[in-house]
C-alpha cells in the first residue's frame, strides 16, 4: 500500500465516524441521508484499498481509466445531490409561502378586531 492509499483510507474512516457522530447528536439529518453519505465514504475507502477491483468495475462501464471513472461518478453524484437540494428548497419555498399567507390572514383579522373594539 502506498502512502496516498493509506491517507484516503484513514480519511474515509474518519469521515464515516464523523457522520455517525453528527447524526447521533443532531436529529435533523435523516437516516436516508446518513446512509447515503456513509456509502460515499465507504466507496472512497474501498477504492483506496482495492483499486484493482474498481478498475474492473470501471471497465464494465466501458471506462478504461479508474480516475476518469471516479470523476464521471462524482459528476453524476453531484447532479443527483443538486436535484435533491432543488427538491428540498422547493418544498421549503412552499412552506414559507404558506406561512407568509397565514401571517397575512392573522394580521388582517387582528386588525379587524382592533377596529371593531375601537368602534364599540
Amino acid at each position: 500500500m502506498d502512502s496516498l492509499t493509506i491517507i484516503f483510507a484513514i480519511l474515509s474512516v474518519v469521515m464515516i465516524g464523523y457522520i455517525i457522530y453528527s447524526t447521533s447528536k443532531s436529529k435533523r439529518i435523516s437516516l436516508l441521508s446518513e446512509i447515503f453519505y456513509i456509502l460515499i465514504y465507504l466507496v472512497v475507502f474501498l477504492v483506496a484499498v482495492f483499486p484493482k477491483f474498481f478498475e474492473e468495475v470501471a471497465e464494465l462501464f466501458g471506462v478504461y481509466d479508474l480516475e476518469k471513472f471516479l470523476i464521471l461518478g462524482g459528476i453524476f453524484l453531484a447532479y443527483v445531490l443538486i436535484f435533491q437540494m432543488y427538491k428540498q428548497t422547493e418544498i421549503q419555498r412552499g412552506e414559507i409561502t404558506a406561512l407568509t399567507r397565514q401571517i397575512a390572514y392573522l394580521k388582517h383579522s387582528s386588525k379587524k378586531e382592533i377596529i371593531g373594539k375601537n368602534k364599540k
Binding site: R93, T97, T100, R101, I103, A104, Y105, H108
Partner: protein
Amino acid sequence: MNINQNLKNEIYFVIPAYNEGMELIKVLDNLHENGFSNLIVIDDGSTDSSALNITSLNTKINNLVLLEHVINRGQGAALKTGIDFALDCDDCKYIVTFDSDGQHRLSDLHHFITELEIGTCDIAIGSRFINPESKKNIPFKKKILLKGALFVTYYLSRNWFTDTHNGYRVMNKTAARKINISLDRFEHASEILNEVVVNKIPYKEVPVIIDYTEYSIAKGQKISNAIKILVKMIFKTN
C-alpha cells in the same frame, strides 16, 4: 352589458401589488369611483410606502382589504392569498384578478361578466390578441415573448390559448376552488391555464386592451423570466 350595482357588490377584485406606490392608488381610486368596493389588495412584501398608502384609503373605501405578505413571495403566491380570502366571503360571486400597475381597463370588464352571466364558462380569460386594435399596442419584444409562451403552454397543457400571460381574469367560485396555484412567481399564469385544462373548467377568452406605459413595461417580465417559467413548468408537470 351594463353591470348593475347589485352585481358590482358581488364582484371581488384581487390585486397583487409589489412596490407600486401611487400607481396602485390610482387603480383603487378608479375602481372605487366606478362603484366597485370589494377590493382585496395583497401587498407582497413591498419595501416602499404601498401599504401605508393603502391604509390611508381604508377610510374612503369601506370594503378595502389589505393582506400583507411580510416577505416578497411573488405574484402567484399573492394571487392565491387573495383568491382564498375572496372564497371565504359569502357575498362573493365573481373574482377578478387585476394588475396593480394600471395596465387593465375597467371598461373591458363587461366582456368577462357577460360570458359568466350567460353561463358559457366558469372562467373568462383576457386576451390581447383577439381584438386587432389591441394587437397594435403590444411592444414588439413583448409580442415575441408572448408568442413563444403560447407554444410552451401548448406543449404543457395540449391546448391553444391566444394569450397565456394575461393577468386579467374573472372566475366564479366553482372555478376558483378548482384552480390550485402552487407556483409563486410569474409562472403561475401558465399554471392557471394548465389547471383550467386539467380540471376541465369551461373557459372563454375575451378581448382586452392592455395599456402599456413606460412604468408597466419596466415592471413587466423579462426574457430571463421566460426561461425560468419554462423550467418551473416542466418540473411541475413531470
